[in-house]
Amino acid sequence: MAIRDFLRERFFPHMWCPGCGHGIVLNNMLRAIQTLGMSKNEIAMVSGIGCSSRISGYVDFHTLHTIHGRALAFATGLKMSMPELNVIVPMGDGDALSIGGNHFIHACRRNIAMTALVMNNRIYGMTGGQFSPLSGYGTLATTAPYTNIDHGFDVVDLAISAGATFVARTTTYHAKQMADIIREAIIHDGFSVVEIMTQCPTYFGRKNKLGDASNMMEWMKDITTPVGSKAKEENPDLIERGIFVQKELPEYCSEYNKVIERAMKGRS
């Protein structure tokens, strides 16, 4: 299937600002899905609210555009009622880890098969550039005009300790790696988390004087390094990208079926 067939072209032009990284995520997610050879009907996308969450409006899968922060809870219900669907949940950093933080850790813990894409631009883009739980100490935002004193989460560490069985990080600069990782994440039978570092030139970039979108992408290239690289040993401030965890553990929907079997003791 051609990539264009996955798009709802009637909703274009999209609402993202010029240079916004969310479009790069859309592009590479669709490339990943294309290589998997899935039909549109096998995929459900559940998103919350934010610039990032608008992605569900633009793809021609089964889509649920839900409530800010609650996408994973909606997605869990959907997956339990239609387990054969491949569920993809794109979220902004605010959506996933601020208002939705509780759902995030519990979805990781439950190991239910779905793919959470955390589109991390380190800011609330949609509401005008307030700092998020991923902005990090010392950054600037409309709600932190004299620098932010909140410390940020590390999405990867958080997902690992909460029990996600596939955890990875990539950036919009590393488009090819992004498509490969998203592909692996979708195939994984369990809860997958992919943090995608992305640029919001309109707010995070402007507030923090990081230049335009291409400067920000270069910057993401410079501050990251492949997992386990020597560069990290030399410069511990570098952020690792790649796959951190990829392990098999009992998946929630299958386990649930086993519970039913046990309870039925062979009756039907």
Partner: protein
């Protein structure tokens, strides 16, 4: 001093001058401009206050309740889904008798994501024990916010100041911004009746078994019964300093009116123009602008509407399975009164659809042409 201000900033200016000590909020359109201005004032020292950025509206209200329990003046603002998410804490704030003030920008609820004007969000919170005051323009938003603190602190109940999305929150108008000294004369520092005291241990919000719970609820209602008096006192003190007042409602050309339109928020501004135009044509029409929704001003409603032949209520909200919410409440208020004119309920302007002069004139003519309402609610301006 006259300034050209956005409705949102009329509110934030009032909060600044009210010398609020702790604020907390989570951003949501179309409320965000209010708290953005305030967080800037906290950060740059314009206000001697703390602004707590939290991870959701639920946490924002919880933080404000915590701060108010410490006996300081508090404020938050929200809208739509943010208000819905706060619901649990709204009950808590009023039952804990904390004088919190909140600005709520009326916005539609999803799905069918919509960021525009609709009153269902605030009206759906009518049973949470918050005083609710609806504003028509920027000046009223500023003045009502200032009054809200004095009123809340007089009766130990929380107050919601309600603004229309965009029509008020994002519209620039000339607003008289008073000077700090005048505001200080009107609004003395908070002298809290409920507070955690370093020297005196107390237990707040403990378990309330059946033997006491009902009395506690009755006490909240007693607090509400004191609101009309406290509001009148607040308005009198406000008029002393600033020479302005609003009342719990405003009757425009109602004395000899056969038909009275009941309007709220910015639609009342449009209503004034419609009344002038229709009066010029010789129509005996008046307008009741309703400002206070909780407590519901039953006595005043009866005295203004009881004499009319017909009442037409314009609701920019809806209670599914019933009718427009203002119409419901007005019917109930009139029922035990001496006279009850028929109440024609109209639903208009949901989800940001404009309520224009034409809309209101159509509503008036539809009402005039019929003896009795054809339905509890007539939906106007559907596509």
């Amino acid at each position: 001093m006259k300034a050209v201000l956005e409705g949102s900033h009329a509110v934030s200016e009032a909060v600044r001058m009210a010398r609020v000590a702790v604020m907390s909020a989570y951003p949501i359109t179309p409320q965000t401009h209010i708290v953005e201005a305030l967080s800037e004032y906290c950060a740059d020292g314009t206000m001697d206050a703390r602004f707590i950025c939290v991870e959701s509206e639920h946490s924002a209200m919880a933080a404000v309740i915590g701060a108010a329990s410490g006996g300081v003046r508090t404020f938050t603002a929200t809208s739509s889904h943010g208000l819905a998410l706060m619901h649990e804490l709204l009950h808590w704030a009023s039952a804990a008798r904390l004088p919190i003030v909140m600005a709520e920008v009326n916005r539609a609820l999803g799905p069918g994501w919509n960021i525009w004007m609709d009153q269902t969000d605030s009206l759906a919170q009518r049973d949470t024990g918050w005083i609710q005051l609806y504003c028509e323009d920027g000046q009223e938003a500023l003045d009502t916010t200032l009054q809200a603190f004095r009123l809340a602190e007089a009766v130990n109940l929380p107050v919601m100041v309600v603004l229309d999305a965009f029509f008020l929150s994002h519209t620039y108008e000339p607003v008289d911004v008073p000077d700090q000294a005048a505001v200080d004369r009107f609004l003395p520092p908070l002298d809290p009746r409920i507070k955690l005291d370093y020297g005196d241990i107390c237990a707040m919000s403990q378990m309330a078994p059946p033997g006491v719970y009902m009395e506690m609820r009755r006490d909240i209602q007693k607090g509400f019964e004191r609101v009309p008096g406290a509001f009148a006192e607040t308005e009198a003190a406000f008029a002393d300093v600033f020479g302005r007042g609003y009342g719990v409602m405003e009757a425009v050309a109602c004395d000899d009116a056969e038909t009275i339109l009941v309007l709220t928020g910015t639609a009342a501004g449009t209503g004034r123009q419609v009344i002038d135009a229709l009066r010029a044509e010789g129509e005996k029409v008046g307008m009741l602008k309703l400002k206070m929704f909780r407590p519901f001003p039953v006595r005043e409603i009866r005295s203004v509407l009881g004499g009319a032949q017909k009442v037409a209520v314009v609701d920019r909200n809806f209670s599914f399975g019933a009718s427009g919410i203002f119409a419901q409440e007005i019917r109930a208020a009139l029922y035990n009164g001496k006279s009850h004119p028929p109440v024609f309920g109209y639903i208009a302007g949901l989800g940001g659809r404009d309520v224009t002069v034409d809309t209101l004139e159509t509503i008036y003519r539809m009402t005039r042409e019929r003896e009795t309402p054809e339905a509890e609610s007539v939906w106007v301006g559907l596509n």
